[in-house]
Amino acid sequence: MSVLASNVRPISGVGIGLRSQHIHEILTTLPDLDWLELLADNHLAEGGQSVDQLDSISKHYPLTLHCVGMSLASVEPLDLEYCQRIKRLAKRVNASWISEHLCFSAALGVYSHDLLPIPYNKETLAHCVQRVQQIQEALGDRLLVENVSSYMTFKNSDMSEISFISALAEQADCDLLIDVNNIYVNQLNHGLDGKAYIDHLPVERVREIHLAGYQQQENFVLDAHNNPVSEPVWALYQRLIERQPNIPTLIEWDNDIPPLQVLLDEVKKARQIIQRVKEAQA
């Protein structure tokens, strides 16, 4: 089904989300990273410094695209022009795949630029299945759908998040990007059972894992992506890796961005866990 590019490079191992603060250092030092992920929406402009830099980056590292603008679960018409721009970017940088969040971000022509939660029920599921299929048709490729962290729960949710996302993946025939930190944030904010979530994932559809850090607020935790991965998240990650050790993993850091070395240290930790699990399973 893939029409992104004929020579897409395989993704494996551990990578980081590429942020503008690190581009120069990465291009000059070419650190030991298995792959990089672009926040696609930051690279859709026709000009700007990033266009040339992306071409250089893509020569050295396999890339994937991570989107925030599809408004996947929105009831508004799908923005097909946006999908085409994403598709062009994917071709340009030879991206291996495209991912988007299970949320909506716009309604009534207003854009929140946030990942807004949805109730988990049959009506929403039917809508999301149709939307994912439409997006995959527009992109000409399978989409990876990511679970989101949330701070809101709906009375008319009659499915668990894991039931919803599993049914979506099966019915829309899409793949999954599992953010382990988001699972843990929802565990702390909503009492979700993170271990059970990991254990019930349709792991054969999980093509990518995200790891990030959260920020403790007064009475909840914020998925701020501004801290190292927490120990409970590493533990959940190991639990997932024990089910399938070869899922590519990404370290995400979006706010209060530290020196590149801090992210490389996180990459090292993830690699150590993968190695440990593989040795134990050998």
């Binding site: 000009g47 009831v75 854009y111 630029h113 807004l116 009375k155 909503h190 009475n219 914020l222």
Partner: protein, 250 residues
């Protein structure tokens, strides 16, 4: 509540920063978060993202006013201007008009009457940064047109070129504050007309002549070569093309 209604009511609360009583009844309380707090978290996220966006687009305005005061103004702007762009880079174009209005209404801003124009300059800089690069003018194609076709031709400015005319020395103020060192500065008195152009990855800002502004304004409004000749500005066209400000015709 159906999915469509839920999304519409949810987004209204995020753009108007008010709670909807009916919507709140659709939410469940958790051990840590009541429905009111749940919606407040998203309202704060949206406001924070748009405030950061404005601070990034308008760093000189932010420097002049101070971070806290800028945030307060930005909050007022966001309250009345929800984002209508899927691309966050498209947000904040009307901030210039908002700031001009504030400068007339707030006594503490009376001395900053130039600020609206300065904000406009920062918006143009932002637009130039993200615009497509300049292509080369096709002299051969233009030469192949008949004399009549040439007279009726309309020239196109490069997407990575912008200009503005101000009654204030906006370029000088921008330059002074762009490299802020914290010392007291006096504001020059002369009006300035400014061009902004990106060549490859380098953006330059420079003063342009009043006649150049006249010519560029005419070109931007879509007049023909014949009108440019009648207006006495056609002699500037070769220079504009050579500098990359004009990139095409139609």
């Amino acid at each position: 509540m159906k999915l469509q209604t839920m999304q519409e009511v949810f987004i209204k609360q995020l753009s108007q920063f008010e709670s909807d009583a009916t919507f709140l009844t659709q939410l469940t309380s958790t051990s840590s978060l009541q429905p009111e707090q749940q919606i407040e978290i998203y309202q704060n996220n949206v406001r924070g993202a748009l405030q950061s966006c404005l601070a990034q687009i308008y760093p000189v305005c932010c420097t002049i006013l101070g971070e806290q005061y800028f945030k307060q103004l930005a909050k007022g702007y966001i309250q009345h201007h929800p984002s209508r762009h899927s691309d966050l880079n498209g947000y904040g174009e009307s901030f210039s008009a908002f700031i001009s209005e504030q400068c007339q209404q707030r006594t503490e801003l009376f001395e900053f009457s130039y600020l609206g124009d300065l904000v406009q300059l920062e918006w143009l800089y932002h637009a130039v940064y993200y615009a497509a690069s300049a292509s080369l003018f096709d002299f051969d194609a233009f030469a192949k047109l008949s004399a009549s076709q040439q007279e009726n031709s309309v020239f196109q400015l490069a997407p990575c070129f912008q200009f503005m005319a101000s009654d204030f020395p906006v370029l000088s103020i921008w330059q002074l504050n762009r490299s802020a060192t914290g010392e007291q500065r006096s504001v020059p008195n002369n009006a300035e007309k400014v061009g902004i152009f990106r060549h490859e990855n380098q953006i330059s800002l420079f003063e342009i002549e009043p006649l150049e502004v006249d010519a560029l304004s005419l070109i931007q409004s879509g007049v023909s070569l014949q009108t440019l000749v009648q207006s006495g500005v056609d002699h500037l066209l070769p220079t504009f093309i050579q500098k990359g400000w004009i990139v095409g015709f139609g």
